[in-house]
């Protein structure tokens, strides 16, 4: 196999990297890819709980990189989603236990065993970031419509460019009503400021919290708008570039459109 490694990064913390990694990993696996998601947030692991696999951890990514176990032993197979594997972070080490050279080697091994590898990058631009991007072929930058998040995203985009990686943008936690009122940066504003290609728009969605509570994949929840958005991003990553990007809309503007279509004033 000659898989590709995609790093999910942001600069700023808490914008949705782990949510995106778990959701895209599941969606890509449901489309038939053999997928590994790797938690590189060493010392602060989270991807395991978001995926509901926290009680099955024996070995972790540090063990696998250091050769203390086989890759197979560190990769936990998801029982609900065929072809999806989690390589968890270790909770007791810190980010300096790994170095970029070992990560390049580890990346080569991952490519041999999986079609797609998603790397959940820690916040910040230090060693943990370095370790996460060093073996990546592609990058997804997650950003929320806030000044601080966009500024950090810009910094990270610059660092990725310096590594000859052209990242794509996912805007997360969009509140359509606020965008329509002019009180939240729209995705076009963000694309304009960041000069970067957009790959998806994910709105604020209670299902994200619910799915994290239960450990059930977001993309398996029927009525989740965020889940639907991640499924569409996965299709695009999978090469279906003609899947259109849907702009989240408020209930109000949807009703307005329906009223206009029916010819009822309002």
């Amino acid at each position: 196999m000659d898989g590709k490694i995609i790093v999910v990064t942001s600069g700023k913390g808490g914008v949705g990297k782990t949510t995106a990694t778990a959701s895209l990993g599941a969606a890509l696996a449901l489309e038939g890819n053999k997928v590994a998601v790797v938690d590189m947030d060493i010392g602060l692991r989270n991807l395991d709980v978001v995926m509901g696999l926290e009680n099955r951890i024996v070995f972790n990514v540090v063990d696998a990189v250091k050769g203390n176990c086989k890759l197979k032993q560190a990769a936990i197979k998801d029982r609900r989603v065929e072809n999806l594997y989690l390589i968890p972070a270790s909770q007791s080490d810190n980010k300096d236990v790994l170095n970029p050279e070992e990560m390049v080697k580890f990346g080569k091994m991952l490519r041999r065993h999986f079609d797609i590898v998603l790397i959940d990058c820690p916040a910040g631009i230090e060693r943990g970031f370095e370790n996460s991007v060093v073996s990546a072929d592609e990058a997804l930058v997650i950003c929320t419509p806030e000044v601080s998040a966009v500024r950090d995203a810009d910094r990270v985009i610059g660092l990725l460019y310096a590594r000859s990686i052209t990242p794509k943008l996912i805007v997360n936690r969009i509140i359509p009503q606020m965008v329509e009122n002019g009180d939240m940066l729209s995705h076009t504003d963000m694309v304009d400021v960041l000069s970067i290609e957009l790959i998806g728009l994910v709105e604020m969605d209670d299902h994200v919290v619910i799915s994290t509570n239960t450990g059930m994949p977001l993309v398996l929840q029927k009525n989740s708008k965020a889940g639907e958005a991640f499924r569409r991003i996965a299709m695009r990553l999978n090469g279906n570039t003609d899947v259109p990007i849907q702009v989240p809309q408020s209930q109000k503007s949807i009703f307005k459109k329906i009223r206009n279509k029916l010819g009822i004033g309002g």
Binding site: E146, V147, V150, R151, D154, R155, I157, G158, Y161, A162, S164, V179, N181, G182, D183, M184, L185, S186, D189, D192, V193, S195
Partner: protein, 92 residues
């Protein structure tokens, strides 16, 4: 429509996201060029002055922007609508 009215009465005449976008653009310029607010303001003023010698421009509308032009090069982009060319008074 009611939103617009509400904004007028509440003294907010601009969308807050417009302000966010403007602040962001400047923040990115400062970050990349590692220059201060004052320097950018002076640069802005000087550019307006120079262009105004040749063209009638809307001084408020002149925009400074930083674009990534290649992997490690940034470009300073000046964008201004030109209202008209100035007649050369001294050529009489």
């Amino acid at each position: 429509m009611f939103n617009g009215l509400f904004r007028k009465f509440s003294g907010r005449n601009k969308d807050s996201k417009e302000l966010a976008k403007k602040r962001l653009k400047f923040a990115l310029i400062y970050d990349k060029l590692e220059v201060s607010d004052d320097i950018i303001k002076n640069l802005h003023k000087d550019i307006v002055e120079v262009i105004s010698r040749y063209f009638e421009i809307d001084q408020e509308a002149l925009e400074l922007d930083i674009r990534r032009s290649s992997e490690d090069l940034s470009a300073l982009v000046v964008n201004t609508p030109i209202l008209s060319a100035k007649r050369k008074k001294d050529s009489l």
